[in-house]
């Protein structure tokens, strides 16, 4: 049977997930193999070397760089507190005395007799890594972290902003093609993951931030609203570090696009349960999409399938069109003609025939569709 390879976002009622939780530089692993961890447990931590500050002692004392050694009060490696004297001159008249103070707490890293600068390093900062998902430690990477395994519902979004967070799922609309309005966000949504329908406006997102909602999941947002929310245009889709006070996950794309019914139903089936979400998106080689993970099974599921995505399409598959002129339209694959076909733009591309709900058949480039879960 004719089929074609297609990438798709994962929307799975239950799957076995593995999450690597690693430090950027070596440190101490706190969790042990086989340990059950909660999403907020710290599994590893390290100390990031402190920031380095330079002080131009030669300039401040009006001496040559090679002379500063004679005026240093603190030596290399010595600890200093902010405001401590690190160097001073010794004039005959004390009115002419100049004192160089440490601008930060830290240690004297280096004294340069060529540049006349003294480098001070701030104390190290502790960097902890949380488990993020509830599960079992199945692998320990010495000095760096752990791999956690968990069974749960796994849903990928297409784009997100904001980092990792946790909370109870709260479905705030009754259907996937309903807008998530500011009025839908209630005070009891504080600390929760609010699920909307086709669109959230800037006012809705601001209301969510005001009320302390941890994350919003909706079908689409307008780019103009995103720009106003961030204060800048996102140039390249590398996100996850924004400090907005809320994580926003878009499941379908930019615009007002109803959330796929399957995704909405799945999220609704886990209403009230604790979830881990991340808005981090990287669309480059080694793509990373935002995600929603809810540990455990939905009530109607009895076994956890390993991987439902088969990676190709066949006639009969439900698909969504992801580019104009039919952006967002849902249909069923009718056939997959193998030959290159000229499309409206006069490019020659591999295409498929799609039957729409009303029975109309249209031709769409294969690159412009996404498979929907059945």
């Amino acid at each position: 049977m004719a089929h074609a390879y297609t990438p798709g976002l994962k929307v799975m009622p239950c799957t076995l997930l593995k999450k690597k939780r690693l430090l950027p530089i070596p440190g101490t692993v706190l969790a042990v193999l086989g340990q059950q961890v909660g999403s907020l447990d710290i599994v590893a931590q390290t100390e990031l070397p402190g920031k380095v500050f330079s002080v131009n002692v030669a300039n401040r004392l009006s001496v040559g760089p090679d002379e500063i050694r004679n005026f240093m009060v603190k030596k290399e490696g010595e600890a200093v507190k902010r405001g401590d004297t690190i160097a001073e001159n010794k004039p005959f008249l004390k009115w002419f005395k100049t004192v160089v103070e440490a601008p930060v707490d830290g240690t004297v890293e280096a004294i340069s007799l060529i540049t006349g600068q003294v480098l001070l390093r701030e104390p190290p900062k502790v960097l902890p890594i949380k488990a993020y998902v509830k599960g079992t430690v199945v692998e320990v990477t010495p000095s760096f972290g752990v791999t956690i395994e968990a069974e749960g519902t796994f849903i990928q979004g297409i784009f997100g902003v904001g980092g990792e967070t946790n909370g109870e799922i709260a479905v705030a609309v009754s259907s996937p093609d309903e807008d998530l309005t500011p009025e839908d966000i209630k005070e009891n949504h504080k600390g929760k993951i609010v699920i909307g329908g086709k669109h959230a406006s800037l006012t809705t997102i601001k209301r969510a931030i005001e009320l302390g909602v941890n994350a919003i999941v909706v079908g689409g947002i307008h780019d103009r609203d995103l720009r106003q929310l961030l204060g800048y245009d996102i140039g390249v889709a590398v996100t996850g570090t924004e400090q907005l006070g809320v994580t926003v996950i878009v499941t379908e794309g930019f615009g007002a696009i109803p959330m796929a019914e399957y995704t909405f139903k799945l999220l609704s089936s886990r209403n009230g349960e604790k979830a881990s979400v991340s808005g981090a998106t990287q669309i480059r080689a080694g793509v990373m999409r935002p995600e929603i993970i809810v540990p455990g099974y939905p009530k109607n599921v009895t076994e956890c399938k390993k991987d439902q995505g088969r990676g190709w399409i066949e006639p009969g598959d439900p698909i969504r069109i992801i580019r104009e002129p039919h952006f967002g339209v849902i249909g069923t694959v009718k056939s997959l003609p193998p030959e290159l076909t000229m499309i409206g733009s006069e490019s020659h591309a591999r295409v498929l025939e799609v039957t729409l709900d009303g029975g109309e058949v249209i031709v769409v480039p294969r690159a412009n569709i996404e498979v929907l879960e059945k």
């Binding site: 380095v52 500050f53 996102i234 930019f254 615009g255 669309i283 104009e324 006069e346 690159a367």
Partner: protein, 597 residues
């Protein structure tokens, strides 16, 4: 083996997503590219071995050509009958290419020289540090620590000059203690190409913390730039350190018959060879999904820049952010709601592999492409400059012509040849689209020939040119370049409809065409003859390269598009009235036969 024995050559380019192989065969006295194959690049998991993709792409060439090239995982050399190849060469940009950080004492002087040096070697420059770059010292140190380059180039000071700044930079580098991107347990390679008086101090500061390599100063005096020794060191380290850490590269290095080159370095080599062989000023561009590379050779000086976030898919939204929505809208022959356009471009960013299905969507992508090409060219012009800080003697008459030191080397009136590559230029449904996109983005003046590299063969040919310049140039002329034709654009401004130039073209086949060009018009003349003679008589106030109103005779090329006579004037200004602007666009697109009606 001597060079003249080369008959069969196999070359690959390992890109971040695709590995492309081409077969080159000697037919009589000429080398021709005969077959090509491609396969997904296998640098990432689960394969983590670049040679798998290389072997797959060569297998495809074997199947298409019927020539047996591989014996298991070994390339059969030399060629004999229908078996083997005489040499295998390769370039690579897989795994993110060569990523460098550079530092110089003064941003506009040694900082810029160091940047040119690294870019010319094919690197992506992640950041340029300088004593006067406006950042606080701790910010510089923080930056060095955050970025994990493959290697670092440290320069600063002229030979025998002050050492303070360069020593300060070295101390910051030591304090940051940066780690290389690949192989965290290795020391970061640092090339020192600064003041020769500071060698001892630099060794003392960085000798034990980094893998320090000292080479000649890249700016020995203010008046002289000496980039080649440092560039060679960059290539050495690329091969010895960076490539050794990348998955499968040690094996690939054993397979090749010439050193592997970073892809952009190979394209640069080919651009230089082509410019030198024809005594041309050349501009070459490769516009991809994420980045746009620009190469130029002007007055025999080679420059390369890479605009890391200007591209047609991953970076499409950044083109909008940098150019501004109004600049994209100005190229569209129809009205579109701003919110709709914003959402469309963002949807392309998050689903980068989708393709335009309608003419309207194609026109939007072409509008973005013009802006990406223009912005990348602006960045190129800013870096392709004469040396700054050089004292110039001025006479009284020069006082009226105040060109500062560091003026751009790029002069579009003296530009002879433009070569475009990358999906949007190479695979446009109509070639007229590629040609007008480049004309709009670069706004060439006078006589400018144009071509596209339709299957991006320049990397393969650049690395091959190290072994056989003849083979590389033969294939370049015969198989790589698709000649579009020539753009004739008189420089000057007039009222719409006013006569600006009379022209006459005689092809090598004896065909003759002539006519008049009026201001505000574009005339497209299909003209396929590979060589032709142009006589252009611009009116007073218009310049075709010989001065206002002066007659010009020049050799030009026809091609798959032919001649484009651009009477829109230079500097090129679009109407401020949106409806007039859209009418103009429709008129020009119609004249060029750009889109289906």
């Amino acid at each position: 083996m001597s060079k003249k024995d080369l008959e069969i050559i196999i070359a690959t380019d390992c890109g971040s997503t695709t590995t492309k192989a081409i077969l080159i065969e000697k037919k009589g006295d000429t080398y021709r590219q005969t077959f090509r194959g491609e396969a997904p690049t296998t640098v990432e998991a689960p394969f983590e071995d670049v040679t798998k993709g290389v072997l797959n792409s060569i297998t495809e060439v074997e199947e298409l050509s019927g020539r047996k090239i591989l014996d298991g995982e070994r390339i059969i050399t030399p060629n004999s009958g229908n078996v083997g190849a005489d040499i295998y060469v390769s370039t690579s940009s897989a795994g993110g290419g060569l990523q460098m950080m550079v530092a110089g004492a003064v941003k506009a002087m040694t900082g810029e020289s160091a940047q040119r040096c690294a870019l010319g070697a094919g690197a992506i420059v992640m950041d340029v540090l300088a004593s006067n770059d406006g950042r606080a010292d701790h910010e510089k140190i923080e930056r060095i620590r955050q970025l994990r380059p493959d290697m670092m180039l440290l320069s600063g000071g002229t030979d025998g000059g002050t050492i303070t700044h360069v020593v300060e930079l070295a101390q910051f580098l030591k304090a940051a203690d940066p780690k290389p991107r690949l192989g965290a347990s290795y020391k970061l390679p640092v090339i020192y190409a600064g003041n020769n008086k500071a060698h001892d101090q630099i060794k003392e500061i960085l000798g034990d913390r980094t893998a320090l390599i000292i080479t000649e100063n890249l700016r020995p005096t203010l008046e002289k730039e000496n980039l080649m020794p440092a560039r060679h060191k960059i290539h050495d380290i690329f091969l010895e350190h960076v490539m050794q850490q990348a998955p499968g590269y040690p094996r690939l290095m054993k397979m090749v018959g010439a050193p592997i080159m970073p892809t952009p370095a190979a394209v640069g080599t080919m651009t230089e060879k082509f410019a030198k062989a024809n005594k041309f000023n050349v501009l070459a561009v490769d516009i991809g999904g994420a980045t746009t590379d620009v190469f130029s050779v002007f007055s025999e000086v080679f420059n390369r820049t890479v605009s890391a976030n200007l591209g047609m898919s991953y970076s499409i939204s950044n083109v909008m952010a940098e150019a501004g929505l109004a600049n994209i809208l100005r190229w569209l022959p129809f009205d579109i709601d701003e919110q709709d356009l914003r959402n469309r471009l963002k949807n392309k960013m998050i689903r980068p592999t989708t393709i335009p299905q309608t003419v309207e969507d194609l026109q939007i992508e072409h509008a973005v492409a013009r802006e990406a090409l223009r912005l990348a060219f602006d960045q190129h012009k800013a870096l392709a400059v004469g040396l700054k800080g050089v004292q110039q003697e001025r006479s009284i008459s020069d006082a009226f012509d105040q060109t500062a030191s560091g003026a751009s080397l790029i002069n579009v009136m003296r530009l002879d040849y433009v070569i475009g590559s990358g999906g949007i230029l190479a695979h446009s449904p109509r070639r007229t689209q590629s040609m007008l996109m480049m004309i709009d983005a670069y706004q060439p003046e006078g006589v400018t020939r144009m071509a596209v590299d339709s299957i991006f063969m320049m990397p393969h040919l650049g690395v091959l040119a190290q072994i056989s310049e003849k083979a590389a140039l033969d294939v370049f002329y015969n198989d790589c370049l698709v000649r579009l034709g020539t753009c004739l654009a008189p420089k000057g401004l007039a009222k719409e409809g006013q006569l600006v130039m009379e022209w006459e073209v005689t092809g090598s086949d004896g065909s003759r065409q002539a006519g008049e060009l009026r201001f505000g018009d574009i005339i497209h003349v299909p003209f396929a003859a590979p060589k032709a003679r142009l006589v252009a008589r611009p009116v007073k106030g218009f310049d075709m390269g010989a001065g206002s109103g002066s007659r010009v005779e020049a050799d030009i090329e026809g091609g798959v598009v032919g001649l484009v006579l651009d009477g829109r004037g230079r500097p090129f200004c679009l109407s401020k009235d949106p409806s007039k602007r859209r009418d103009d666009m429709n008129k020009w697109y119609k004249a060029m036969g750009m889109y289906p009606v």
